[in-house]
């Protein structure tokens, strides 16, 4: 089975360089089921990081452009590599292989673990946006809290210990607000690999969205199901639709 993990922006041209793509691929490979090959890809164009609806939307054309090629290459599933699930319905319309959004996959895993769940994300600015996303998924009544550590995505890795401490404090607040399962609301946060440590500290399960998405992708591909074409119909104008005039 081959899974594509699509970074929605030219990460390799950012401060972390191509090594970061390799590091992420290694992390995914380490956690994939035997027999699953995960390849990390990036889109040609997109913002350096995604911390607003603006950046989310600017990441989508690159995703759209990349989707048909990934299907043609023979991937069995694609993960959109951003917790905002940017362009998820569009990506699902374009291909017949399952497309996974980490926010949806992470939230649905939480739903199996607790009575209500919470999200711990990066910057305060994305909190309302994540609430809207969950409402759109029909999960509003199961969402107890969304909280942020207020550290920019690009500083997460350098400030790991501080982030872990803040995640602990914010996680305790989310638990007090009724969340008995949590998902980290940012993929870079997911690649920090702190979910297990947080689970220990908080006493409630903390889901790594990178891995929730990976497992959802492997699961859908294993079942041979993909998004419904009545819910995500292919654009009537076909490929041409992908080309703005």
């Amino acid at each position: 089975m081959r899974i594509a993990y699509l970074v929605p922006g030219p990460l390799s041209r950012g401060p972390l360089g191509p090594a970061e793509l390799d590091r992420r691929q290694a992390f995914l490979a380490e956690h994939a089921f035997p027999g699953t090959a995960v390849e990390v890809r990036e889109t040609d164009a997109g913002p350096a990081s995604i911390e607003s609806s603006v950046e989310e939307h600017l990441a989508v054309p690159g995703i759209i452009q990349t989707m048909p090629g990934l299907e043609a290459e023979g991937f069995d599933a694609v993960i959109i590599g951003c917790f905002g699930d940017p362009g998820l319905p569009a990506a699902r319309e374009l291909v017949d292989i399952p497309v996974i959004g980490p926010a949806q996959a992470g939230a649905l895993m939480c739903v199996q673990l607790g009575e209500r769940f919470g999200i711990l994300t990066v910057v305060n600015e994305v909190v309302p946006s994540l609430r809207r996303l969950m409402r759109g998924y029909g999960l509003d009544a199961l969402l107890a809290d969304v909280r942020a550590v207020d550290v920019p995505v690009l500083e997460l890795r350098d400030r790991r210990e501080e982030v872990l401490a803040t995640l602990t404090a914010e996680g305790q607040r989310a638990a007090a607000a009724g969340a008995d399962a949590l998902v980290l609301g940012c993929m870079t946060m997911g690649f920090l690999d702190v979910a297990a440590e947080l689970t220990d500290r908080l006493g409630v399960p903390v889901v790594n969205p990178v891995l929730a998405a990976l497992k959802a992708a492997e699961s859908a591909a294993a079942l041979g199901v993909a998004q419904s074409k009545t819910a995500y119909p292919p654009p009537r104008k076909g490929e041409a639709a992908a080309r703005p005039v």
Copy 2:
């Protein structure tokens, strides 16, 4: 008061040419309150028409790029000229003047007119997408039905009589399903100017989303309110965010 109506694509370069922009501006001007100047603008890049989530998303970068300039020009409000409300949260993050989505404005007007409402749109492909949009707005339980005439946007004008007949038939089905107010789910359909005729034929109010959006824009501007900056915070990275690397 100056309202910008932003067509999310280069309509003037399409088959209808620049005259269509003028025709739309004239229609809006005719229905604006005295003292309101409406200017129809178009983005530089975008699909020829929007009939899928793919096309919706491809229209957004052009919208994002255009928003700050519209605010700088002194407009008092902006209408996103597509019933899918493409990029609405992103556009709202970027400016301090109210940004109106016709689907949201049209649905909310329906909510004041009936117990539950319905949407009559263009092609079948956008039906699930409009259902998702309404769920995201928290209006799921008030939505009785979404139905389509299944005529492509670009053919609507030439097939006006056929479209009107089909709208009547689909509107009756929506009413039978519990919708006692309807909104037309496409801006080109709105510019056909058939809402009054349909209201007569169907016996339930039919809202023109072009005018619902215009009135929502005029209303918000008149009250001096705009989207909350706690719900739609400006991107932390500022202008730069609008520039994909």
Copy 3:
């Protein structure tokens, strides 16, 4: 366009006298779109102020009695001048012109401005009643908080500075509870004209329900739509229904 603003009680015979009607009409006129004539009317009978469900209901017969005459006079829309929207369904049944409830109009404007909204009202006693009202409108899940300044309606004007300070404090509490747009939950509060000042102080948009209702009335009339007669059917027994035996 002619809009009637109907005060549900004999305000002119109260402590503020007929001058208060003129003052309110002037405020409305000042904020109406050019070409809109607003006339403030009052019903013959009703409580001195409305601060309970009891008083709300006692205001309704006067509203019912007045509605047909307003339509006959040629008004294009009617605003029920109380934030409890007293008798709104009944008034809508009686006429073919749009009837606007300020609570519904104000809440729906908030829905366009934020992710969830709050209400700041007069006395504590109306808080549960406003929650019930919003549930009936299907907006329960979008309502973050309802708070009161606990100043009686008739004292609002004399205690303006105190009210403004308390509104600020309660508004901050509502924002902390998740409301990122607020509506003032009382028409007398609306005529205090403090929404802009509060918007500045709180950093979230504060909607004046007087103006939200005015704009909703102007908007519906401009579109030529009114409440659905399938949702608000005329009483079968006709006029006679309005005459208790």
Copy 4:
């Protein structure tokens, strides 16, 4: 225990005369628990029958006027004798004894009997109004259908067999729409005493709202609980509130 059943209008001055009050009292007495005395009262003013929101609201001042006296007389609970639950919140504010609305009581009994429920009412005009009522009670998602026999209240008794046949047909439609328990949506329908017969014919339980309300009143009084004064606070202006200026 003494229960007042308050007819919201001068029924005794209608076509059925005072005998109808006696007939209703006898029916209630027959179904009351031993030791419960039910007295049927009527208000001084109100519409001849209630088949619209207009009439519902016109019935309320009479109810409000009567409530304090019923409490002073020593009744242990009051039933509002109309399925629209007219003025229920107002009546609850005015007294410390439990006030029961038959629609709420009947719906809640249905909720214990099935997965979703339906309402079978008199005229088509009240269908949307009953839907709004149920939404206000938070029971929207449990309501499968509302259907009407389309026979005016005052003709129900004379057309009993026809009504029973129509109720059977409409009940089958409601069951097909997912209702597995039904409540009759009109008190005069309740006094026709057809619920048991309909239960047999339809194979789903049919609740008589007259009796559901009676049992709810006896139950609340037996428990010594009444509506919460934080949810239904007494009007601050006290008795005076009941006197329109």
Copy 5:
């Protein structure tokens, strides 16, 4: 009328002995309507007390085994004597007489008393379970809070004063969280007979679930209605189903 109150476990073989059954029967008899005979029964097998989903489920086979016999004995209704409503759907499938769950009955009585309600229960462990139960009943949006005194069921009686003090404190917290009616979430707590005292202390009505269930049972039996056989169909394999192979 004969009502069976079924204790889901061999209470008489517990520390309180057979006297506790008599005491409970006396309490029920004291609060039953004249003419109602209540008999307390116990199942042959079940946990000593129910403070987890595990114990709840272990109590169900005994309930299932007992139901047909109770119907055969001629009881008119059965109350499941545990606030977790263990096995309620199963019990309802097995008989044609109404089966009442105290949690459902208590919550529905609260719904008539306030705008939102709360539950005060025994141990912290059952809080999430009660939230799930209320969600399953469709009452999620009306539930403001669930709180526990954290005293084991079997110690409730000996620590009555302490329990009352804690219930007062937790009840105040629930009221502050928006509950304006409360139900005690444990039957042993109900038999402590503290609801009236708590109602006085808290200023909001506190419902005794023992009595709410008793009244619901008497009410359903009086109306001659029972659970819908379309919602709770009898097991196709009949009696045999009750016998595990």
Copy 6:
């Protein structure tokens, strides 16, 4: 990784004999990820098949009894082998390894595939029970339809072709009712291995609940997360709770 698939009843002593356990284990092994060992176990006592809430509940004590042993044996996750998810909360309280309910897992997979989903199950009797289950999971608003083939579980295998034809017809009805993804609502149906064929016939994805549960179990175990102990706390009385007195 070792996954236990727990059949809630002594399947090996039924008409299909021990071979059926082997057949199921082979099917699971065939679809497991490399490195996952699935072992099919059965409980000592339980009904021959589960087609009612009665049988569901009778299956639970066996499940409860078996859970601690499965954890002690070193399994990494347990699947409850029945689509009614019998005893799921109880099982989750008892162990620290993830426990998966196929109905929940199957529904959540559907949620990722479509806008709304449907369930195709065995006998009509379980339809209301599955609706209640989904409401309890907070998925009510996403559930479009539940339909049954009305073939008893034990006859499914012998009537495979007939079942497939009926599933196709019922699936079309569910799709017409708005379901754009479907899950088979019975594990024996899952082991018929018809999901792929149905997906082809219906044009919407059909999820096999056996495999959805398997993948959910493998996923949770791979992430190292299990049900939250704040949502599913261990019974306070410990092991003893599992022993009815």
